[in-house]
């Protein structure tokens, strides 16, 4: 797990300008290790470097890994240049994922902001495939502009089995959905306080404000999970780069229960 394994880019898809999805497959006959939604791989672009990227495909796909990446620096820009059949180094899967066993029978709130929908997508696939096991599923997805919404076709498909609520901060007159911040959708959400679990992923400020909106409705901190981002290098809790309070985000997270890390979320410059 700690030595990169060479996989091949099977397909590459441009989601929105600057954000793309790579599907990776093994170049040999060896099976790929399975993953839990919410976990991540370290992707190594030869000659550039390594970067942690969450899984964004279905955990049921056993012969491939899917990752959605936004090109924002040297390493991710190198990943952006990869084409089908190119080699890529992969270490993983790493980290603690979403608490899937706890979701059975619950009203599940999935709250995504921007590219935060990508780490939640494997979980959404699971919820969609098994929707009868849950009391209800509500997806809240906010982004900057309608043109920046990810996986638009799938959002439409998912709405058959879950309530899909979209919100954008800015829009032109041709957008007929909600305009406003994602917290305004949460303020009006209806869910039973004693049987709901919320799963949040997005920019840290968006997660804090979303959690404040949920807490204002008296959802317990024990029922809220979030996926954190920090500077990760080794991915196995040795190098200490991603230390966050008493935890290592790469090993103890990236998914945390809010009640366990509330103190650290409000500690400045940590």
């Amino acid at each position: 797990m700690n030595t990169p394994r060479v996989l091949q880019v099977h397909s590459r898809r441009e989601e929105i300008p600057g954000t793309f999805t790579l599907q990776l497959r093994a170049a040999d006959d060896q099976p790929l290790p399975s993953f839990v939604p919410g976990q991540f791989n370290m992707l190594y672009s030869f000659g550039a470097g390594e970067v942690p990227i969450s899984f964004s495909g279905s955990a049921r796909e056993t012969d491939s890994y899917t990752h959605t990446v936004r090109a924002l620096g040297k390493n991710t820009e190198a990943l952006q240049r990869l084409l089908a059949a190119d080699d890529i180094g992969v270490r993983g899967p790493f980290g603690r994922g979403w608490p899937i066993p706890e979701l059975a029978g619950k009203q599940v709130l999935v709250i995504a902001g921007g590219l935060g929908l990508a780490p939640l997508r494997p979980l959404i696939y699971h919820l969609n495939d098994n929707y009868q096991q849950f009391a209800g599923i509500q997806l809240f997805y906010g982004d900057r502009h309608p043109q920046q919404l990810l996986y638009r076709q799938e959002l439409q498909q998912w709405s058959a089995n879950m309530q899909v609520n979209l919100s954008v901060d800015q829009a032109g007159p041709d957008w007929h959905g909600h305009i406003g911040v994602i917290t305004s959708l949460l303020n009006n959400a209806v869910f039973p306080l004693d049987n709901t679990i919320a799963l949040v992923c997005g920019p840290e400020i968006m997660m804090r404000f979303s959690i404040q909106a949920l807490r204002a409705k008296d959802l317990p901190g024990e029922a809220i999970y979030l996926s954190m981002e920090r500077n990760m290098h080794c991915a196995i809790g040795h190098c200490g780069h991603c230390q966050w309070g008493p935890t290592f985000v790469c090993k103890d997270g990236p998914v945390f229960r809010y009640a366990d890390i509330e103190k650290w979320l409000y500690t400045r410059e940590l």
Partner: protein, 161 residues
């Protein structure tokens, strides 16, 4: 038969209000429907009314010269449209337009201001409730200003998304 007072009582703005205050306030309201694209209020026109949304959606928007209108915020059931009736010069700051068939309670701002002058306790309670709405909108506007979804170059090599 459901009365205006029933709709007022059930609206989130007035949740928990004392029954005699509900009846007092409801005296300033009447049920009103809007068709899609009909305006509830237009920028710089007198703001004599505000609206409790019961069903449907409305958009707050503005315009800039010959460019298309700019939608700023959409509002749905249990939300409130309009607070310009509270403060001089009592004119709408933005356009408010129905984007679907809309069912509302139209509240007469002048009538309500008069009632608040007569009953300071009610006036304080109502002001506090409207201040909550304004605080929530101000918080949302600040959140929007942060532009949290903007693509910012990573300053480290570690980023999950």
């Amino acid at each position: 038969m459901i009365t205006v007072a029933d709709f007022v009582r059930q609206h989130s703005l007035f949740a928990g209000l004392e029954p005699h205050h509900v009846d007092f306030i409801a005296g300033c309201g009447k049920l009103r429907r809007f068709k899609a694209n009909e305006y509830l209020g237009r920028e710089n026109e007198p703001a004599d009314y505000f609206y409790l949304l019961l069903e449907g959606r409305a958009v707050i928007e503005t315009h800039q010269n010959s460019k298309p209108t700019v939608p700023l915020l959409t509002l749905g059931e249990q939300e409130v449209v309009g607070w310009s009736w509270l403060f001089p010069p009592y004119r709408w700051h933005f356009d408010a337009r129905a984007i679907s068939a809309l069912r509302t309670v139209e509240m007469d701002g002048r009538c309500l201001r008069d009632k608040c002058e007569q009953d300071a306790k009610l006036g304080f309670d109502l002001m506090r409730r409207l201040a909550m709405v304004m605080m929530s909108r101000l918080h949302a506007a600040r959140f929007q200003l942060l532009d949290v979804y903007a693509a910012v170059p990573a300053n480290s090599r570690g980023s999950l998304r």
